[in-house]
C-alpha cells in the first residue's frame, strides 16, 4: 500500500520531489514573501490552474483539445456564486427587517432579480439555498454537461479541430445565455457583492489568506488525482488513443467512453477551480466564461507543458504574472509582448516549461555522467517531439 501511494500518487522519486517543491513554493514561499493583496492575486491565478491541470489530462494525454473549458469553470463558479448570493440577500433582509425600502429589494431575493422585475425565486435557484446541495451541483452541473457534449461528439467520432471549434462555439453560446437571461444570472454584470460563506467573511484579509491555502491544497490534490489517473491502465490507454486510436478500438475498447470520461474529469476539475475563484475574488462574471479566458487556459497549459501536471501550475502562474507585469509596465504594448512570448514558446519549447526543465536536467545529468564515464561516450538526449494536438 505504501509503495502504491509512493509510485502511483506521488509519481516515484522525481515526482515526489517535484510535488514537494511546488508545495513549498505555494504553501511557504508565496505566503511569506507576499502581502495580502498579491497573495490573493496568486489565489486567483491558482483557481485557473485547475483548468490547466484538466487540460493536461484531456489535451496533453488524451489528445482532446477543448477551447471551451471556461464553460465548465464558469458553471462551477456560478453555482457557488448562486449560493453566496442567496446568503447575501438573506443577510440584507435580516438587517433591513421586513422593510422593503431599506432592503432596496424584494426580501430575500438577489438584487439583480429585483431589478429585472422578477419577484419570485426561479425554481432552479432553490437548490442553491443549501450548501451541501450547492457543493454537489458545483461538480454535477459541469460534469453532466461535459458528459452530454462528450457522448454526442465522441460517439460520432468528432475529433481534433472540429471538436475544438464546437467547444468554442458552445462556450460562446454559454456566455450569451448568461448575458441575456439577466433576471436569472445577473446578466453582463454577473453575480456580485458576495461577502460571506455561512457567515464567514470571505473579504476579510485574514480569511482570504486561509482561502489561498485551501485553494493551494485542493490544487495539489488535483495534481495527485491526475497522477493516479495517468498511472492507471486508463492513463496509458489515453496516450495510446491519442497516437493510434484505431488500434485501441480494435483491441476491444469503446474509445468514446474513455474520451468522455477524461473530458468529464477535466470539466469537474475546472468547476472546482471556478468555485475557488469565486471565493477568492467575491464575484462571478460571464466575461470569465467565454472564449478569451478559455483560450488563455489552453495557453497556460501549453506554456507549462501539456504533458506535465506540475508544469500546468507553473505555466498558469508564469503567464498570469507576465500578464500582470506587462500590462502594468507597458500598458500599450503588453498584448504584443504576450503574443511574442507565446510564439517563442511554441517555436523553441514545444513541450513548454516542463520540457525545458527536462532538457536542462537531462543536460546536467549527461554532463555529470560524461565527467565520470569514459570520455567520448555520447549520452543520447532525446529531442522533445511534440505529439499531434489531436
Amino acid at each position: 500500500m505504501k509503495s502504491f501511494i509512493y509510485n502511483k500518487a506521488l509519481g516515484g522519486k522525481s515526482g515526489t520531489i517535484g510535488l514537494a517543491v511546488l508545495a513549498v513554493i505555494l504553501l511557504l514561499v508565496f505566503p511569506l514573501a507576499m502581502d495580502n493583496f498579491r497573495l490573493n492575486l496568486v489565489g486567483k491565478y491558482l483557481s485557473l490552474a485547475f483548468v490547466a491541470i484538466g487540460l493536461v489530462l484531456c489535451w496533453g494525454y488524451g489528445g482532446i483539445l477543448s477551447l471551451g473549458q471556461g464553460m465548465f469553470w464558469g458553471l462551477g463558479g456560478y453555482c457557488l456564486a448562486a449560493f453566496l448570493k442567496l446568503e447575501a440577500a438573506r443577510n440584507i433582509a435580516a438587517e433591513a427587517g421586513s422593510d422593503q425600502i431599506n432592503a432596496l429589494t424584494t426580501v430575500g431575493l438577489p438584487d439583480f432579480m429585483d431589478w429585472n422585475q422578477i419577484t419570485e425565486l426561479p425554481w432552479f435557484w432553490y437548490p442553491f439555498k443549501s450548501l451541501p446541495l450547492t457543493l454537489i451541483l458545483v461538480f454535477l452541473v459541469p460534469t453532466v454537461l461535459a458528459y452530454i457534449i462528450g457522448t454526442a461528439m465522441f460517439k460520432r467520432r468528432v475529433s481534433g479541430v472540429y471538436f475544438a471549434i464546437i467547444t468554442q462555439a458552445l462556450c460562446w453560446t454559454m456566455e450569451l445565455l448568461f448575458v441575456t437571461r439577466q433576471g436569472w444570472t445577473g446578466g453582463i454584470n454577473g453575480i456580485t457583492d458576495l461577502r460571506t460563506l455561512l457567515g464567514w467573511d470571505i473579504q476579510d484579509p485574514g480569511n482570504q489568506r486561509i482561502l489561498y491555502f485551501v485553494t493551494s491544497l485542493l490544487l495539489l490534490g488535483c495534481v495527485v488525482l491526475g497522477r493516479l489517473i495517468l498511472g492507471s491502465k486508463l492513463g496509458k490507454l489515453l496516450v495510446a488513443m491519442r497516437d493510434t486510436e484505431g488500434r485501441v478500438r480494435f483491441s476491444g475498447y469503446d474509445v468514446a467512453n474513455f474520451k468522455t470520461f477524461i473530458f468529464c474529469v477535466a470539466a469537474a476539475m475546472s468547476a472546482l477551480g471556478g468555485a475557488m475563484y469565486v471565493l477568492n475574488v467575491g464575484f462571478m462574471s460571464p466575461k470569465l466564461v467565454t472564449i478569451e479566458p478559455s483560450i488563455y487556459m489552453v495557453i497556460f497549459c501549453a506554456v507549462g507543458g501539456r504533458m506535465s501536471l506540475l508544469g500546468a501550475v507553473y505555466g498558469t502562474l508564469a503567464v498570469s504574472f507576465g500578464r500582470t507585469y506587462f500590462s502594468e509596465s507597458f500598458p500599450d504594448l503588453w498584448l504584443f509582448l504576450m503574443g511574442g512570448v507565446f510564439i517563442l514558446v511554441t517555436m523553441v519549447f514545444p513541450l513548454g516549461l516542463a520540457g525545458m526543465v527536462d532538457r536542462l536536467t537531462g543536460l546536467v545529468a549527461s554532463k555529470a555522467s560524461a565527467a565520470t564515464d569514459a570520455p567520448g561516450l555520447e549520452t543520447p538526449v532525446s529531442e522533445p517531439v511534440s505529439p499531434p494536438p489531436a
Binding site: 491502465k233 496516450v239 488500434r247 485501441v248
Partner: protein, 248 residues
C-alpha cells in the same frame, strides 16, 4: 436465417461499393476452425477491404459475415473484437510513446470498461502472461523500449503480440512480413504456425515463398472477386491466376 455451420468464419455474398465502385463484389469465403488461410491477389483486388469488412471497420452494402454462427455485420468494432476477432493492420499500428511492456499491458483483455481500466491492476498473473507473449514474439529483451524505437519488423511482431494476448479465435493479419528481413520472415513463419494452433488465421500476403511456407489453403482475389481457391499447388497452376497475378 442461415443454418448453423461448423465454419469458424463464413463470409457469404459480401459486397461493398464506394460511390458505385465495387471494392468487394459478392465474395464468399469459408474458413475452418484451426485453418490458416492466405488471401493473395494484385493491388486493388479488395483484400484489405475484405478484412476491414470482417472486423467492422467498413460497413458492407450487402451480404453476411458469420463468425462461429454469429452475425458480425452491424456490430460495433469493439464488440466484434470482444467476440474473438483480432485484426493486425498493414502498417504496423502500435502505441509509439508506450514501452513494449505497456503496449502489451494495454492490450490485455481485462478492464475494458472505463472503471475497469481505472482500477486494473497489473498483477503477477498479468505480468507472467505479458512475459510469455513477449517471448513468443521475440521481444523479451525489449520490454522497456519505447515502441517507436523498434525496427519495422519488431513493430509487426509487437502488433501480433498485442492480438495474441487477447487470445482471439480468429486472427486477421494484413501483410505481416512486409518490411522484414529474410531472417525475420523465417521467424515470423514459425510464429504464425505456432499461433495458428487452436485458432483460425486469415493472412494477406504478397511474398509467395512465405505463403508457401504457411498456407493451408489459398484464396486468390482479383477486382473484388474470388478468382480461385485451394491448395498452393492447385492455385499456382491455375491459368487464370497465372494470367492476372503470378505472371508467366
Amino acid at each position: 436465417m442461415s443454418l448453423p455451420t461448423d465454419f469458424a468464419l463464413a463470409v457469404e455474398n459480401l459486397t461493398v461499393s464506394f460511390d458505385g465502385f465495387k471494392a468487394v463484389d459478392s465474395v464468399s469465403l469459408y474458413v475452418d476452425p484451426g485453418e490458416l488461410r492466405v488471401v493473395i491477389g494484385p493491388n486493388g483486388a479488395g483484400k484489405t477491404t475484405l478484412l476491414d469488412l470482417i472486423c467492422g471497420k467498413t460497413r458492407p452494402s450487402g451480404g453476411s459475415i458469420q463468425f462461429k454462427n454469429q452475425e458480425l455485420v452491424g456490430m460495433a468494432e469493439q464488440k466484434i473484437v470482444r467476440s474473438g476477432v483480432g485484426r493486425k493492420f498493414q502498417t504496423p499500428s502500435v502505441y509509439p510513446k508506450l514501452s513494449v511492456f505497456e503496449n502489451l499491458e494495454v492490450s490485455v483483455p481485462k478492464g475494458r470498461g472505463v472503471w475497469g481500466a481505472l482500477f486494473f491492476s497489473c498483477n503477477q498473473e498479468v505480468r507472467q502472461r505479458i512475459l510469455e507473449i513477449a517471448r513468443d514474439i521475440f521481444l523479451e529483451d525489449e520490454l522497456e523500449t519505447e515502441a517507436e524505437l523498434l525496427s519495422h519488423g519488431q513493430k509487426q511482431w509487437l502488433e501480433i503480440g498485442m492480438l495474441l494476448i487477447a487470445d482471439p479465435e480468429l486472427i486477421l493479419l494484413d501483410e505481416p512480413v512486409a518490411g522484414m528481413s529474410v531472417n525475420e520472415r523465417g521467424q515470423t513463419a514459425e510464429l504464425l504456425k505456432r499461433i495458428a494452433k487452436g485458432r483460425s488465421v486469415v493472412v494477406i500476403e504478397h511474398d509467395m515463398n512465405f505463403v508457401r511456407q504457411i498456407a493451408d489453403r489459398v484464396t486468390v482475389m482479383h477486382q473484388g472477386k474470388v478468382l480461385a481457391e485451394g491448395s498452393m499447388d492447385k492455385v499456382e497452376s491455375d491459368p487464370k491466376v497465372i494470367e492476372v497475378y503470378l505472371g508467366h
